[in-house]
Subunit: 250 residues, 2 copies
DNA sequence: AGCGCTAGGTAACAACGTGTAACGGACCGG
DNA sequence: CCGGTCCGTTACACGTTGTTACCTAGCGCT
């Protein structure tokens, strides 16, 4: 697990059975993470307040306290990833785990290697939660009559009609929108859109692909594509999204 | 500027000319942000230590101190966005500003509305620096001989040959990789890939588009597509990336 | 102003990517 | 063993995307 990143993961192991707790902490430590044992809710909160915790392995049955309740509480307060561990394997038990916000649910007895894999998966997911796993932006953007609903990836014309933008046109719009009033070079746009186009990297000049995308986008959202008011050209540089945008949550 | 988000932006206005400073702070305050005046480097560091600062408007000429030097220093220490403000409009002056890490460079005298737009742009850029503006992951992932270079968006076969994956195949691979060992439903995958396919949302069952993508990806990276070892099928659910992955920085 | 150069707009084309439909096999229940 | 569902696979058709080519607009130069 040494490859997981620069920082060593700090994992809180919560189980009221001392034997189980020791087994898990030892195993995790042998695999390169810092495992901190805990048995009660009180101990959990103490750890959360004192130091960084990257992941909580939470047993469902903790004597008089319920792991589910604890998980629900944790979730409303913080954003620590939680893997529920339980001997209860029924589907509705699992569902209950996911419902209170658990990231994963592992049934005892489990294969230690599998536990490790799940831990790894959850950690790496939380680490780049915004890049690959793609936490979706839920805002709505409005500019000169147009509406872009980031949640549904939909663009509405001033008349309220949905416009058919292709995926890349969408991506281009998003990129320019995200950098409103900032001129972007073709290279920057290409980078953001993953244009590894054939002629792109070979020539010093990134192909005309971006120009075409802009042209096509303009033809769909500009009232007069000949005199663009939204997507302006910065001669010798690139393009700018140059009207004001208001954002609102949905 | 009220739409900028839940939190009110806290902007540090650094200028040694009291009149200018007042003008800018008042204007920013009228437009919904908290503007804090400062004149010296000492005041800046004090503010940075005492409270959250979302943006610094930094005058280039500050009596005996140079805004450029201050900016360079700030950049090596922290990650606060900086907009340089200056009466010097020559290109090499601007370049100098960007070189020390400024996010933007505004020439005095400026149109207040434009200042606001730039401020807004920089703030919104820093706020979602990882979603739309797409901070690229620079890791390299290795699994069963294969290499995925996230930086260049390139996949190398065990023999070291670059494989031609289409953009969506790449995206699919990324998504599954990011959720290694976690079974993903077709809906989750579709969501991550922005599949708003024609038959997709209308039917309860998301079309077979994902199946096809998986099939095509398998045909390119599985040694025996008939017996997939990397991209396994979870019958009734979806697909899992089910081999171990090691990550490393590049 | 006139000239020429370069950058950008645009049309047409070709190639590729991608979703759908259809068929067949695998798996799982009774 | 049989039926149904789920999935793999092939074939196909359409949309999308990058390129080439040509033209126009902008800009510096003499």
């Amino acid at each position: 697990m040494g490859e997981l990143g620069v920082t060593i993961p700090r994992i809180l192991v919560v189980d009221d059975d001392p034997e189980m707790r020791n087994m898990m902490t030892q195993f995790l430590r042998q695999n390169g993470s810092i495992a901190l044992p805990a048995a009660t809710e009180f101990e959990i909160t103490r750890h959360l307040e004192t130091g960084r915790i990257d992941l909580i392995l939470l047993d469902v049955m903790l004597g008089d306290e319920s792991g589910l309740d604890i998980c629900r509480k944790l979730r409303t307060e913080q954003d620590v990833p939680v893997i529920m561990v339980s001997a209860l394997s029924a589907d509705n038990q699992r569902m209950a785990g996911y419902e209170v916000g658990a990231d994963d649910y592992i049934v005892k007895p489990f294969n230690p290697k599998l536990l490790l894999a799940r831990v790894k998966a959850v950690l790496s997911r939380s680490r780049r939660s915004s890049s690959l796993t793609h936490r979706r932006n839920t805002k709505t953007y409005r500019f000169s009559g147009w509406t872009y609903d980031a949640k549904r990836d939909v663009v509405l014309s001033p008349e309220g009609v949905q416009v058919a933008l292709s995926r890349r046109e969408m991506a281009l719009l998003q990129t320019l929108l995200a950098n409103q009033h900032i001129p972007l070079t073709r290279e920057e746009i290409a980078e953001a859109l993953d244009v590894t186009g054939d002629a792109a990297q070979s020539q010093e000049r990134v192909g005309r692909a971006i120009d075409m995308l802009v042209a096509r986008l303009r033809s769909k959202i500009e009232t007069d594509p000949k005199d663009p008011r939204i997507l302006k050209t910065e001669r010798g540089t690139g393009y700018v999204f140059s009207v004001d945008v208001t954002e609102s949550e949905t």
